[in-house]
């Protein structure tokens, strides 16, 4: 338990992605089975454990601690699991565990415990464990670790540990379950790759590389098909041997949030496509923005009202399995013909086919890219007609050619110190644009960025922040930003989300600071209206309903 607790403590405080991966990979290498398997499940969110209610925990503490002292403590710490782990005093004369309890043994006891004796078991476990381990236990039984590690990241750690490609882990993932003993044996190099009982339900997706400066010059346009790159999320829909699942592109099972799609998927096979909300082309209704799609994302379940207001559908890009037949080795053209036939027969309101974009030269395609026919298009995909479907991102068969980013001039408003290499630099910036409020021009934040600038530019920004701080809120500094005194930056971004959490009502997507505009005064920076006009306010009527701006 101690090693797992230490891992959690480190992960909570480690901001760097690579360092997190290293911490997890090291743990998986050193921890025994089945401990590491349960740890993996806890981190990846695949642990199924009856949870213990906060009130039960509170009662346990108050058996030993004065209520007033507990309240002072809880007020100070703010987190129940952490407070309890810290104030817990072993009973005087109670047995102290000489040896560390293993995570596996703890899990086994929790699984075996009935409703009636969970109370006593938790008390006894708290008595046997050390501080950090108590915290880990409490996090496990209250559900949700919240340690800033995605399922994708932990899979990357597994890949690093076994020196295999992450796509192999992703493909196996849904066929395995805790404590993942066979998986670890394979990653340890002690056995062959685990064989799944049924056809793998998730297959690592094929990814494109961006079009770089001289890529197209050497390529023959006739060898490629072009299609629009839609601004939703890439998904894989599988219906094999009676099992229906919807996966994100990294293999997270998101079926629970999309019963509308699952229900309609009455054909056997595996489709690769874009998940969107709105109407399909087959029903002649508009595709809605990413902002609308977001209403349906990151949910475990979905209400009837959500289903009605934000109907989801899949725009098909590719077909991996036709029925139970694996057709990934066939050419793009062949697969697409099969996909087209399949979608023809599928529910018109839930499935349509991503249309191809006819073109004869790269110049022509570039023009189309600059002015796409639908606001929910974010660029163009190029796919070699003869390419098989291969997992991962290799350069050559598929390219993505994104629309140019939007640019606005914004004013720096707040800055925060970075982490690691940048811990002594103010490198995370919040910036805003002008808008009218109560008859006055004010700056409202529209985004936050911590990259895009060079190291030399960071020196300039950092110096400005240090010399122009007007207020401090903990680690955040408010920067002087007045019409005639302030710092203007050019911000490049991919789009905007409408958000009630931001005062401006909008938040930029993928913003980065592309240029320092030391030649401009804040009064010359852009206005919120300009920003909205740029996006062309797709589905303006729908925007209005949810977000009066």
């Amino acid at each position: 338990m101690r090693a797992f607790a230490e891992l959690l403590d480190r992960l909570v405080l480690t901001p760097q992605r690579n360092a997190k991966i290293k911490l997890m990979a090291d743990y998986f290498r050193n921890a025994p089975d089945p401990d590491r398997g349960y740890a993996l499940a806890a981190i990846a969110g695949t642990l199924t454990l009856k949870t213990v209610k906060p009130n039960v925990l509170r009662q346990l503490v108050l058996e030993r601690l004065d209520e007033v002292l507990f309240r002072y403590s809880y007020d100070y710490i703010g987190d129940l699991a952490e407070t309890i782990s810290l104030v817990w005093e072993r009973q005087a004369g109670g047995e102290t565990a000489q040896q560390d309890l293993s995570l596996g043994a703890v899990m086994h006891q929790l699984e075996m415990a009935g409703r009636a004796n969970v109370h006593g078991l938790v008390r006894s476990l708290l008595d046997q464990l050390e501080g950090s381990s108590r915290f880990a236990l409490l996090k496990l039984i209250t559900g949700g670790l919240r340690i800033g590690v995605s399922a994708r990241l932990v899979k990357q750690a597994l890949a690093d540990m076994g020196n295999v490609d992450i796509t192999e882990i992703e493909t196996l993932w849904h066929g395995l379950s805790p404590p993942y003993t066979a998986l670890f044996r394979w990653l340890d190099g002690k056995s062959d790759k685990p064989q799944l009982d049924m056809p793998a339900v998730f297959h690592a997706v094929m990814l494109a590389t961006p079009v770089a400066d001289n890529d197209l010059a050497t390529l023959d346009p006739k060898a490629f098909a072009a299609e629009w790159k839609w601004d939703g999320i890439r998904v894989q829909l599988a219906n094999l041997a009676g099992t229906r699942r919807l996966y994100s592109r990294s293999g997270d099972d998101i079926s629970g949030a999309f019963p509308d799609i699952l229900e309609a998927a009455d054909f056997e096979g595996i489709i690769d496509g874009e998940l969107l909300v709105g109407g399909t082309m087959r029903t002649n209704r508009a595709t809605r923005t990413f902002s609308d799609l977001q209403q349906r994302l990151n949910r475990k379940t979905v209400t009837r009202r959500m289903l009605e207001e934000y109907p989801a559908f899949i725009r098909g890009y590719d077909l991996l399995f036709c029925g139970r037949r694996d057709i990934r080795q066939e050419s793009f053209l062949t697969r697409r013909a099969e996909l087209s036939a399949l979608i023809d027969k599928a529910a018109p309101s839930r499935f349509d086919l991503s249309p191809l974009v006819p073109f004869s030269s790269w110049e022509e395609l570039d023009r189309l890219r600059a002015d796409p026919p639908d606001p929910v298009i974010e660029g163009i995909m190029l796919k070699r007609l003869d390419s098989p479907y291969t997992a991962g991102r290799s350069k050559g068969p598929w390219f993505k050619w994104k629309r140019e980013p939007y640019n606005v001039d914004a004013v720096l408003m707040y800055a925060q110190r970075g982490h690691g290499k940048r811990s002594s630099y103010y490198s995370d910036f919040t910036f805003g644009v002008w808008t009218q409020s109560d008859g006055k021009d004010v700056l409202v934040p529209v985004g936050k960025a911590y990259f895009g600038f060079t190291d030399a530019e960071l020196e300039v920004l950092d110096r400005y922040v240090r010399n122009n701080t007007v207020e401090r809120f903990g680690p955040v500094r408010a920067i002087r930003a007045e019409p005639d005194h302030g710092f203007v930056v050019e911000v490049a971004f991919e789009g905007i989300n409408f958000s009630t959490r931001h005062k401006s009502g909008v938040a930029m997507r993928f913003p980065r600071i592309s240029r320092l505009r030391t030649d401009k005064l804040p009064r010359d920076a852009d206005r919120l209206e300009t920003l909205l006009a740029m996006i062309g306010q797709p589905g303006a009527d729908m925007v209005e309903i949810r977000e009066p701006i």
Binding site: D66, Y76, R417, S423, G474
Partner: protein, 336 residues
């Protein structure tokens, strides 16, 4: 005599009217008795100062020879007459030279503990309990949440990280007096024999500890050119906590931010400060040690000062010990 008339709080600090002196005054006064050298307790500008030799030396190092007009060294355990009262100094176990001050008149004795701890510390003398009528205790970590773990485990965390990230400099923020030297001594005890790099602000105090016979091993200034910053890869560097945010930290390759403090027990505190590796090492008592000390000394009254007074007062109530908060101002518990 009534203890409330022997010692009472004033805006300048805890005052003994009968002896005409203050203990750890926060403003310049005529006569000051100082418990230890931390800046919020030992200030410059008093006329006469009575403190242990180490505390006087530390004040001289920090403020220069003119830190007071005249000074007198208190010998631990010896009684000094000041007017009608007697004062004596006793080890507090907080930092080098730290002392509790016992003030006595007409058979009433009050012990001002100053800051204190009960754990073994290779860099200073251990706390000695002194029987008394009133025990004035600090309450920096006066909440039941504070249980400081074993120092050795905390040092082991650092050594593990050095193995895991040999390409990164490990920068430890530690209070320049006491904590920094204790960390170094603990690292040496754990067998770490590599050079340890220190920020300029620590140099003179580390030298002084060495002079007093506290060996710190191979200590080097962390002031190399930017060109050979790679030489700090995998090295331990110690600086005052504020140096993290400072441009000073930029000379190190991809630093691991470490902070050695009792506050590091609270995960959110560590996260807010951008600390990656918290070392829970404190020069104060944790909750258990505070309460056990009060039980051991068994005074008629407990007065509680700087920190979470309310929780410790509540605990005393539950134990049937008369207690009240002192509400002294001007002491800083954040530097710990």
């Amino acid at each position: 005599m009534k203890p409330e008339t022997l010692l009472y709080p004033t805006p300048k600090g805890l005052y003994c009217e009968k002896g005409g002196f203050y203990i750890d005054p926060v403003q310049p006064v005529e006569k000051a008795l100082i418990t230890h050298g931390h800046a919020d307790h030992a200030r410059a500008g008093h006329t006469h100062v009575l403190a242990t030799q180490e505390t006087l030396d530390i004040m001289r190092i920090r403020y220069g020879d003119a830190f007071c007009v005249s000074s007198q060294a208190a010998v631990l355990g010896a009684r000094t007459g000041i007017g009608d009262i007697t004062a004596s100094f006793h080890p507090a176990g907080h930092v080098l030279g730290s002392a509790q001050i016992a003030v006595e008149a007409n058979g009433t004795r009050i012990v001002v503990s100053g800051d204190y701890k009960r754990r073994r510390d290779p860099t200073c003398a251990a706390f000695e309990p002194v029987p008394c009528d009133v025990f004035i205790t600090e309450a920096t970590f006066g909440l039941p949440v504070f249980h400081h773990p074993d120092d050795r485990g905390e040092v082991a965390k650092l050594l593990t990280s050095l193995r895991q990230f040999p390409e990164r400099a490990h920068i430890i923020g530690a209070y320049a007096l006491g904590k920094a030297q204790r960390i170094i001594a603990l690292l040496r005890e754990a067998g770490y024999d590599q050079p340890i790099y220190i920020h300029g602000a620590l140099a003179r105090l580390c030298d002084y500890y060495e002079e007093r016979g506290i060996g710190l091993g191979d200590i080097r200034p962390a002031t190399q050119d930017v060109q050979d910053r790679q030489s700090f890869a995998g090295a331990v560097v110690i600086g005052p906590p504020a140096a993290f945010a400072d441009k000073w930290a930029r000379r190190f390759p991809d630093p691991v931010a470490i902070f050695a403090s009792g506050w590091m027990l609270v995960r959110q505190r560590a996260k807010q400060r951008g600390v990656e590796l918290p070392m829970i090492i404190s020069d104060h008592c944790d909750w258990t040690e505070l309460t056990e000390t009060i039980r051991e000394i068994n005074p008629a009254q407990v007065w509680v000062t700087h920190g979470r007074e309310e929780a410790l007062v509540r605990w005393c109530e539950l134990e049937g010990i008369a207690a009240r908060p002192l509400h002294l101002v001007g002491y800083d518990d954040e530097g710990e």
